[in-house]
């Protein structure tokens, strides 16, 4: 039973960690590769 509990705790921790890192990277990419110049004017 302890094994199952470890799987639950580790599983949720890994999911939040992986997706948290993905979130951070995507925010960074969004800033670096976001719309600029002509593209930004078009969006406005």
């Amino acid at each position: 039973m302890l094994n199952a509990l470890w799987i639950v705790l580790l599983g949720m921790a890994i999911i939040f960690a992986v997706l948290g890192i993905l979130l951070a990277v995507m925010i960074l990419i969004g800033k670096l590769a976001g719309p600029r110049g002509k593209e930004e004017k078009e969006n406005k």
């Binding site: 039973m1 094994n3 199952a4 509990l5 470890w6 799987i7 639950v8 580790l10 599983g11 949720m12 890994i14 999911i15 939040f16 960690a17 992986v18 997706l19 948290g20 890192i21 993905l22 979130l23 990277v25 995507m26 925010i27 990419i29 969004g30 590769a33 976001g34 719309p35 600029r36 593209e39 969006n43």
Partner: protein
């Protein structure tokens, strides 16, 4: 019966086969008359019909359904090919506009792990009431990914005895999201919370970001949770075909021909796994009950994090969108949109909900990979 029993099917009809023939009729009826996920239920129902005709041999060794099962399910090829099609169909822009929704997707995977724990508790873990090993419990839990291909992939990789029931439960409950989720959301969110409007003016996402997203997702997820690589790889490959803008022909083929052909083959093969002797046992009923629990826990966990985000953001996040963290796309988004409009006729939440819903698609694949990584470590 004599010699006639060797070639007349109805003389060999068992009660299990009869019940399964009725079930196949119900599935086909639901698909055609009630239009409940017809793309899935019609092929599944027909596969079930074929596999339960006595002496028909369609699902027995050497039969065409058995060959398809061996070639497409046991090798995990069908779910992976389906993911290329799904990736090509999904527009991740609503998610990229609100990347924080990925955390709602993460929270909504709790249904997988909570149900896994419960299944293992009922099985080999403690009570020994049912024949659920650690692998079976993990495969049952994965119904909570609300994602048919992920359920097939995990259940077959872990060689669960209940793969057929798990796959049918996963697909059936995806269709039943509009019935399962609203009472839970209404119980957890007051009318005031449901009426909460969200800022709609999210910035436009550049083409560069859309192209980089699938590549970066594969790198991040693959390097941190390598067991998820085949699933996330196929999903993101399909999405890259869609977004790169230079292979429109391939993108359309993935969205249409590939997705349709594999859906036909997958559906009829899954139906072919529903033979009476394997399907009709107490554990199957428990698998279906645990499946509903998985979807419900997903919804509860997603809404709880939605409520936390609502407080932290100064009421800029409607907690209901947490329920879309499950990957049942787009059913879950439509549920939240409908509930939002019921509470406030000017409250359009579809795009915000779609963001969380597509985030849930990524999260459920990661959860499948994490399960595949952890279970062998503890067996």
């Amino acid at each position: 019966m004599g010699a006639a029993g060797e070639f007349l099917g109805f003389l060999n009809l068992t009660w299990q086969a009869t019940v399964m023939l009725v079930i196949s009729g119900v599935l086909i009826w639901l698909g055609i008359a009630k239009k409940v996920e017809p793309v899935l239920l019609v092929p599944i129902g027909f596969g079930c019909l074929l596999s339960n005709i006595p002496l028909g041999g369609a699902a027995e060794e050497g039969g065409f359904l058995a060959v398809l099962r061996e070639a497409g399910i046991h090798t995990e090829i069908f779910p992976l090919l389906i993911f290329i099609g799904i990736g090509a169909m999904i527009d991740f822009e609503p998610f990229l506009q609100r990347p924080y929704t990925i955390l709602l997707g993460a929270a909504a995977q709790f249904g997988i792990f909570g149900t896994f724990f419960l299944a293992y508790l009922l099985g080999d873990g403690w009570l020994h009431l049912l024949d659920f090993s650690l692998q079976d419990a993990a495969s049952i839990g994965i119904i909570g990914s609300a994602d048919g291909p992920t359920s097939i992939y995990v259940a077959t990789t872990l060689q669960s005895k209940y793969a057929a029931a798990i796959v049918v439960a996963a697909y059936s409950y995806m269709a039943m999201v509009p019935i399962i989720q609203p009472p839970i959301i209404k119980a957890m969110c007051s009318k005031e919370e449901r009426a909460l409007k969200m800022p709609s003016a999210a910035g436009k996402i550049s083409q560069r970001t859309k192209i980089l997203f699938p590549i970066i997702t594969v790198l991040v997820v693959g390097l941190l949770a390598p067991k998820a690589t085949p699933l996330i790889g196929c999903l993101m490959f399909g999405n890259l075909l869609r977004e790169c803008g230079v292979v429109e022909r391939l993108s359309l083929a993935a969205q249409n021909e590939l997705a349709n052909i594999v859906t036909i083959l997958l559906g009829i093969t899954v139906g072919g796994m529903m033979s009476g002797t394997e399907f009709l046992r107490p554990e199957t009923i428990l698998v279906f009950i645990l499946g509903i629990i998985a979807f419900s826990l997903d919804t509860v966990a997603g809404v709880l994090l939605g409520k936390l985000m609502c407080v932290l953001s100064g009421k800029k996040v409607n907690p209901m969108i947490g329920a879309c963290g499950i990957s049942a796309f787009p059913m879950s988004s439509r549920v939240v949109q409908k509930l939002g409009l019921e509470a406030n006729p000017y409250n359009h939440l579809l795009m915000q909900a779609a963001g969380a819903n597509t985030a849930g698609q990524v999260a459920s694949v990661v959860a499948g990979g994490v399960m595949l990584m952890l279970v062998p470590m503890f067996v």
